[in-house]
């Protein structure tokens, strides 16, 4: 009995395509969720191009119903009847689909998109069906595999079909399907194949053996994806470390002091991003998507100004006393954190990704690279390139390098060391501010954001060598990747401890090459 309704509808659809299509929307609106699910399943099994606008509208949540259960579709704020001419009897209420229905809708959409003229759309649809095809679609998929012209799409469809054929009564068909599944890298294929290993669910021994072989193949492919994924998150962590450590490397090389408030510059950069986002929301909501770009210069100048102020008021008076500088800047970081807590509250503030930074690039079935992280890696490299240019091609850079190598000599040659110190400090803090903008796009923004970064970035400086841009880049990415590769093996905490131990051992091997340029003893 429950199956009869879709059958009838199907028959109707075949007989009077236009009329039946005209009824789809109203039928759907009038149905209860269980019936709606049935409808969607039948649509998925029998795609019809004319149904496409309705499916699109459903997916975008533009379908509404009035009190008489007549379907309306919203178009830029106006409701028009989905079928025929009708005026809403009451203000139409938008339909809400539950998660199950949304999934079915996606499958139905994919079925329909198999009819699309662009091969890329068909391919995407076939890939969607690999995950979600229902037994009812068996016939459709068979037909499409037979008629599909594009080889890539055909392969994808064959795979989707294979998923369904795993329960085929004919062992030969199942065997074929199992072999086919062995050639994918889908996480779902693994669970499906694993289910076949069980003697209760799969009676044919040949199929079981084939399933084992296929499973091993799938697992190997999945491992590649996992490793690549870890390497990518390592790169991503590395790019953040790089942005955090770059400024530290400059100021440490120049002044020989560690600014413990450096992490707070990251934090302030992130909060500046938050403020810029708020500003855009209030003043120019139509350009909201661009706020991260606008936040970059703002964050740079805000943090650079704070950095310069710190240099002028505190750090300058502590030259030659690096340990005291450590303590004083720690005091500054305490004050900055508490200040932010008082102003913005102790909770995290919400910084939302704009559209163009959300989503990701599907590289392998089990590997998605989020756009935000890709862009941040690129951004970090861009900042490094800019810093390199600044240090090697400008007057300021020349002065910074001169003072780094020999402060007294540089002063004798007329380099205004005081000004250079201040500007370099501003530059270092500004870069950290940029890092804060990047960080706000992939993590939580709270007052303690910067706290944990000082140790990591210092380790980058230690590993990479003082005043060595290339060293910093290498060390940052190396540390990032090592961290992420170790994490799944031995856990995040033990991984961190292991890395710390490795660094201490590394310093044993290369104490001088890391800390100072080789040369004769000055003292």
């Amino acid at each position: 009995m429950p199956a009869s309704l879709p059958r009838i509808l199907m028959a109707l659809a075949l007989l009077w395509p236009l009329a039946s299509q005209a009824g789809d929307a109203n039928d759907f609106v009038a149905a209860n969720p269980a019936k709606q699910a049935k409808l969607l399943e039948s649509w998925a099994a029998q795609p019809d191009p004319a149904r496409q606008p309705l499916l699109d509208a459903l997916q975008q949540g533009r379908v509404a119903a009035d009190s008489s259960k007549t379907a309306f579709i919203e178009e830029a704020g106006n409701f028009s009847a989905a079928e025929g001419e009708a005026e809403p009897a009451s203000p139409p209420k938008k339909l809400r689909l539950n998660n199950r229905l949304r999934g079915l809708l996606q499958t139905a959409q994919a079925s329909h998109q198999l009819l699309a003229s662009e091969a890329s759309v068909r391919l995407a649809a076939a890939q969607q069906l690999q995950k979600s095809a229902k037994p009812a679609q068996l016939e459709l998929l068979n037909a499409r595999v037979a008629s599909e012209q594009d080889a890539a799409v055909r392969d994808a469809l064959a795979l989707a079909l294979a998923n369904l054929q795993l329960v085929d009564p004919d062992p030969a068909v199942r065997l074929q399907a199992v072999r086919l599944l062995g050639e994918t890298g889908e996480p779902l294929a693994r669970t499906r194949l694993e289910a076949l290993l069980d003697g209760d669910s799969e009676t044919d021994a040949g199929v079981r053996t084939a399933a084992e072989t296929s499973l091993a193949q799938v697992k190997r492919r999945l491992l590649v994806g996992e490793l690549l994924g870890q390497a990518f998150s390592g790169l991503s962590l590395g790019s953040i470390l790089l942005l955090a450590a770059l400024g530290l490397a400059i100021t440490f090389g120049l002044l020989g002091v560690i600014n413990m408030a450096h992490g707070e510059m990251l934090m302030l950069g992130a909060y500046t991003t938050y403020m810029v986002q708020l500003g855009f929301q209030r003043l120019a909501p139509e350009y909201l998507a661009l706020y991260p770009l606008a936040a970059l210069p703002v964050a740079f100048f805000v943090t650079a100004a704070i950095g310069m102020a710190l240099e002028r008021t505190v750090i300058r008076h502590l030259y030659g006393r690096p340990l005291e500088t450590l303590l004083a800047t720690w005091g500054i970081s305490l004050i900055l954190i508490q200040l932010v807590r008082v102003i913005f509250g102790a909770q995290n503030v919400e910084v939302a990704n704009p559209e163009w930074l959300s989503g990701g690039l599907q590289v392998l079935p089990n590997l998605v690279l989020p756009y935000s992280r890709i862009i941040i890696i690129g951004f970090a490299l861009f900042v490094v390139a800019l810093t390199w240019l600044l240090l090697n091609k400008t007057r300021l850079g020349l002065n910074v390098r001169a003072v780094t190598q020999n402060r007294n000599m540089a002063a004798c040659c007329g380099v205004p060391t005081g000004r250079v110190d201040m500007l370099a400090f501003g530059l270092g803090s500004g870069i950290a501010g940029l890092g804060g903008v990047a960080l706000s796009q992939i993590g939580n923004v709270g007052p303690d954001l910067g706290q944990s970064y000082i140790i990591d970035s210092f380790l980058v400086v230690v590993l990479g060598g003082v005043g060595q841009l290339a060293g910093s880049v290498l060390a940052a990415f190396g540390l990032g990747i090592a961290n992420k590769l170790l994490e799944p093996q031995i856990g995040a905490v033990l991984g961190k401890i292991l890395i710390l131990a490795l660094i201490i051992l590394f310093i044993q091997k290369r104490p001088q090459g890391l800390f100072a340029l080789k040369g004769r003893v000055i003292d």
């Binding site: 560690i258 505190v314 450590l326 970081s333 310093i507």
Partner: protein
């Protein structure tokens, strides 16, 4: 005419005055636990709260003293002394947990559905072994870390940051439940120590007296060291390590000795802290705590031994008052203290007092 006279008088009175003040403070400290034993309605009664607070500060003072030995004399600013303090505390805590658990497992282990004690808990029901751990664990860790650090001549800010990383790593490790030290919550709900009720007045008084004894002992040891040739070698090491090496001294041994000694003192302080305060958890290892200890030393005056005790008392006294009166502003005050002390009080309060006296 009068001026030279007063100077000589002050100079003569100097050591005697300090001795008198020191004696007075010691007498008060010894009297406190006895006053605590008085009936509660007595006018002179010292409450358990006060006694615990002062006891806690005394433990911190020992940490400050230990830090002064390495920083003030050998020039090694450790930002990880909280780790040694906490390790000593945890070793004592293990014993206390076993005491309150009786024959069973400590409560947090049953909670994790563990069936038996991890190997490193073996023997912790014995007070003596626990005391050995209090000394051995921080001492050995300091020895291994120091051996590698001093071998490769890590010093200055490198040393500071790496010690900070060390305590940070320790904190992360102890936060994990699987490490077997109660995770987040650490150890608490102690009942007895050596069979005595841990909250009893008598026990509190004895623990307090032990702390005073440890503090005085450490101070005496510190002075003996500082006035020995060993102390002078440390000072020389701080100021001109190369010169010292060309004089034929191996700095590594000297650094290692004072470093391990300092760690052990911290461990002992931690062991006395835990039964008095009644809790130990991984936040004791947070970098913030360790670096705060540095400001106690800086405020009091580095390389003076007495100064850091003063600093620990002042800062913690202030903290207790602030966190009650203006909790929001404590971090501002502490931050400002860091800045003011480093900028304007390079020699600390003691330096200020000495200057007063000279004028």
């Amino acid at each position: 005419m009068n001026q030279p006279m007063t100077i000589t008088l002050a100079q003569k009175a100097g050591p005697r005055l300090s001795l008198a003040v020191g004696g007075l403070v010691l007498a008060i400290l010894l009297a406190l636990p006895l006053l605590h034993l008085l009936p509660a309605d007595s006018a002179l009664h010292v409450s358990a709260y006060t006694l615990t607070l002062v006891g806690k500060i005394l433990c911190y003072a020992i940490v400050a003293l230990a830090l002064d030995l390495v920083w003030g004399y050998a020039g090694l600013l450790s930002l990880g002394h909280g780790l040694f303090f906490a390790l000593g505390g945890y070793a004592m805590g293990m014993y206390l947990m076993r005491q309150s658990a009786g024959d069973g497992l400590p409560a947090f282990m049953s909670f994790l559905a563990w069936n038996e004690l991890p190997w490193y808990w073996y023997g912790t029901s014995s007070f003596l072994w626990a005391m050995c751990l209090v000394v051995l664990v921080p001492g050995l860790l300091a020895l291994v870390f120091g051996y590698f650090a001093f071998r490769s001549r890590i010093k200055g800010v490198y040393f500071s940051i790496i010690t900070q990383a060390l305590t940070f790593a320790g904190m992360l490790l102890f936060f994990r439940n699987e490490t077997g030290f109660g995770g987040n919550n650490g150890f608490t709900n102690f009942r007895t120590i050596l069979g005595f009720d841990i909250t009893a007045q008598g026990t509190r008084a004895v623990l307090f007296l032990c702390t005073v004894a440890l503090l005085t002992g450490s101070l005496y040891l510190g002075f003996r060291l500082a006035r020995s040739k060993f102390g002078r070698v440390l000072t020389a090491l701080r100021d001109a390590e190369n010169r010292l090496m060309f004089c034929g001294y191996d700095p590594r041994g000297y650094k290692l000795f004072i470093w391990v000694l300092s760690a052990v003192l911290c461990g002992l302080a931690g062991a006395l802290y835990v039964p008095q305060v009644g809790i130990i958890n991984p936040s004791e290892m947070s970098p913030t705590n360790s670096i705060e200890a540095a400001v106690w030393v800086a405020l009091g005056g580095r390389g003076t031994l007495i100064g850091p005790l003063l600093g620990a008392g002042l800062v913690n006294g202030m903290k207790s008052w602030f966190t009650v009166a203006f909790p929001e502003y404590w971090l501002f005050a502490l931050g400002a203290l860091f800045i003011v002390v480093t900028l304007y009080l390079p020699k600390g309060v003691i330096g200020l007092l000495r200057k007063e006296k000279e004028q």
